[in-house]
Symmetry: C3
């Protein structure tokens, strides 16, 4: 059962200014389109003006510039989206796991597991591992030899942490994520690949979220590092010895090759690729689908994708693109011809 | 042991016209290259004419235009590839799971599990979940609180369904697929990311196939929706609040960002990317590797990939491409020069 | 505890020439930056000259050309990176699994499991499967009906092998990898997709490494084949009936569509895409992020990515690119104008 709050109670906890009936009772958050009279929604894009006009929500979070666009009860604040996040957290608190270990969990006697932690069915915690206070290790998860999971972290069913990795506090690790598998370290020798043992670990800071089926490889020699507050979406691949700076967000399907060093407060768009051994400054935004092939020293937004088109137009342009140097040659020839004419007047 | 059928029996079940000996006995399907005398193959591309001439198959499925290309027994039909699919289903029926629950499965007493369903070793079915008739929940699968799996669906080992998700009838969910993990919902506030609880679910229609390690995120507020007959290949990422229209097929490694709305009867080529909040009309075909960055209102085929080339040629063209505006400026200068000459002529 | 070796002992096992004190005692490998006095490092790129000068490593592996760049004890050899790989293997031998089966492993009495193999907690080995000598089947792994795992192979926790697949000797299969899921085989019929049963298997040679969450689909009719010595990084997707030639290395996030035939000794860069039914010759190098859309008959390096730029520059060039045919038309018009002038001149 969800606990209801009045608008006044919400504003007293989270700030903001109530316009309209402060006793409006709210039980949950909702979308502009589908919220009902006991739900609060948010408005942060003018493109949604029509939806705001039509909403049946009981209240709305918006900023000062937008507050006159509606007459329903509202909370006015500076950053409606962030405010909404906090309202939603208020109505949807993360459940504290019930302490204990399922009878089918396999917890090594040589592991250190806090009494307040929960280890679910079939999960495995190996020797020397450390599971801290209030951690939830979901069913079928694996925490390898010597790895540690910081307090209040949550590992969803089937998440896997290899040996000698460190996950910080308040981490959220989704199902199918694999932390600490071997980096792709092979040396060529006479046409064959020789494996380089991957003896580094993975160090993950506090407040990191790791999406479903995302992979973070262990370091070849030194560690792979993901700093505090980093958010990784699903199916992200982080190569060995990468460093991702604090509070950087990485969207789905991104690949980061080995030893890349990404700054703090960056955003990496979906399916972007960062090649190995590059350095990205703090505050770099990489657009979706962009392949970064050299280091970036200045903050800003960087893009490199082929603009899509109807297939027939694309074919025409793609052929011309492949012969762009011919076109450049022809322009140069014209320039010279005219220059010669000019001279010969 | 496979049950044999004569060509006549096959045609009486599936339609088509037998040419050649109707008593030819067939035990299995085979490829043009490797089929043996008791196998039936198919021919649907003229590029395979040589292989058809050389095949040792006992029979072949083809269309009227191709039927004179061979003298072996054959079934003539309109759509040989679809016909072949049906023939293969005839010889390779999906096994009905043996009803029951493995002793190591963890099925909540508060779950509703049909007597004809099978729950394999180490699988987990949580409170309020509903497993319908003849469903197979493979070993190590996870069906979360309140989720339902429709009749005749098959979850291969290690597939994971979070809480409050609905999978329709006759679904095939391959290993490592994760349905219902949190969408990537974060709001920026003073340089940090605040998590937006993801309280929507995932609704999956009937006859949907979900490939290995594919991820479908739960909605932020409302649900993520995958309609009837959708086929998702491996390692596809579907963001929160996406809608994929009925009978759309999505090839491997595709990423669909949050709130994208893809129409019915679309095809999305491998490794394509659909950005968030876009709308694709019914009948849109996106080519492999193409990033879709704005909505598409008309059916048709859309493409946008950099044509690959030998590295040296690519480097030359890529540099010119980066200076395309210079080239355009030079062409404009030439045009003006000539215009001036003309005037002054 | 790690066994120490002197430089002389290392060189006597692995070759190379010791310069400096042959009795230098080494206990582990280290990086140029962080190695300590009892560790050996390597130097193979001139860009790391500064790091070499500053290293506190006890010894370094380098080639003849570089050997005078330092005065610390060193091993001089032809291929320092490969040599280093071997040194690291010497200090970090792969542990032999302790023979036996965990009490919670589910091993079919109809499976054949070597006495020296180890089957860990919750792992499942189905009927007719064959687990060879010294194989490690990690916790929660699944080896399906009739599949075989060759001697000395290692399946990390949660790796999944479907039925009727063959994994060779000395394989390393990382967590979340799925071998043998159904290929994406559907035939269109009246706007709906009909599934084509995938009855082929997967054949994997010796000395193959398969990264975390990588997927290798079973063949539609014939088998999918990965030859000896192939190295696949994480999140690689191999479609049905692909063949990957021996000693080819495939970096992370690559997608290979159905029936592609990749030669021997190729390298496929990260996030590259190989379309279906193509043939790549031996010795082809595909650059990261490149989509290969037609067969390649000659060895060499092939590239096709849009060069990234600051977003504003990219927008300008992308627009021009979409109108490249207009630019080409204008150049042609100029050429004709001048030709006409010339004639009439």
């Amino acid at each position: 059962m969800l606990v209801p709050y009045t608008l006044a109670e919400i504003a007293s906890r989270l700030g903001g200014r109530v316009v309209g009936d402060p006793d409006t009772l709210i039980r949950q958050v909702g979308s502009l389109e589908h919220a009902s009279a006991d739900q609060i929604t948010f408005f942060s894009h003018l493109r949604n003006k029509g939806k705001l006009a039509a909403t049946r929500a009981g209240a709305v979070v918006l900023d000062d510039g937008a507050q006159s666009l509606t007459v329903i009860p509202r909370i006015v604040c500076e950053n409606p989206y962030a405010y909404f996040a906090r309202v939603s957290q208020l109505f949807n608190p993360v459940p504290t796991p019930e302490p204990g270990q399922h009878s089918t969990a396999q917890v090594s006697p040589a592991a250190r597991v806090a009494a307040s932690a929960r280890i679910d069915a079939g999960a495995i915690v190996e020797d020397e591992a450390h599971i801290d206070e209030r951690v939830w290790v979901g069913a079928g998860c694996h925490v390898g030899h010597g790895s540690s999971i910081g307090e209040d972290s949550r590992l969803y069913p089937g998440a896997i942490v290899y040996h000698e990795c460190r996950v910080g506090r308040r981490a959220i690790v989704h199902s199918g994520a694999v932390i600490g598998a071997d980096g792709f370290g092979v040396a060529e020798d006479a046409g064959q690949w020789i494996k380089i043992p991957q003896i580094g670990g993975v160090i993950i800071g506090d407040d990191v979220e790791i999406g479903a089926n995302t992979t973070i490889d262990r370091g070849a020699i030194d560690d792979t590092v993901v700093e505090d507050g980093v958010k990784l979406d699903n199916q992200v691949q982080i190569g060995h010895n990468v460093r991702i700076g604090a509070h950087t967000a990485v969207a789905g399907c991104v690949g980061v090759a080995g030893s890349a060093n990404i700054g703090r407060h960056c955003t990496i768009g979906g399916a972007a690729v960062i090649l190995g051994h590059l350095k990205l400054a703090d505050g770099v935004n990489v657009s979706a689908g962009t392949l970064i092939s050299r280091s970036i020293n200045e903050p800003g937004t960087y893009t490199g994708v082929f603009p899509f088109d109807r297939n027939a137009s694309w074919v025409r342009n793609a052929v011309l693109l492949r012969h762009l140097s011919d076109l450049a040659d022809r322009v140069r020839a014209l320039e010279e011809l005219l220059r010669t004419k000019e001279k010969n007047g």
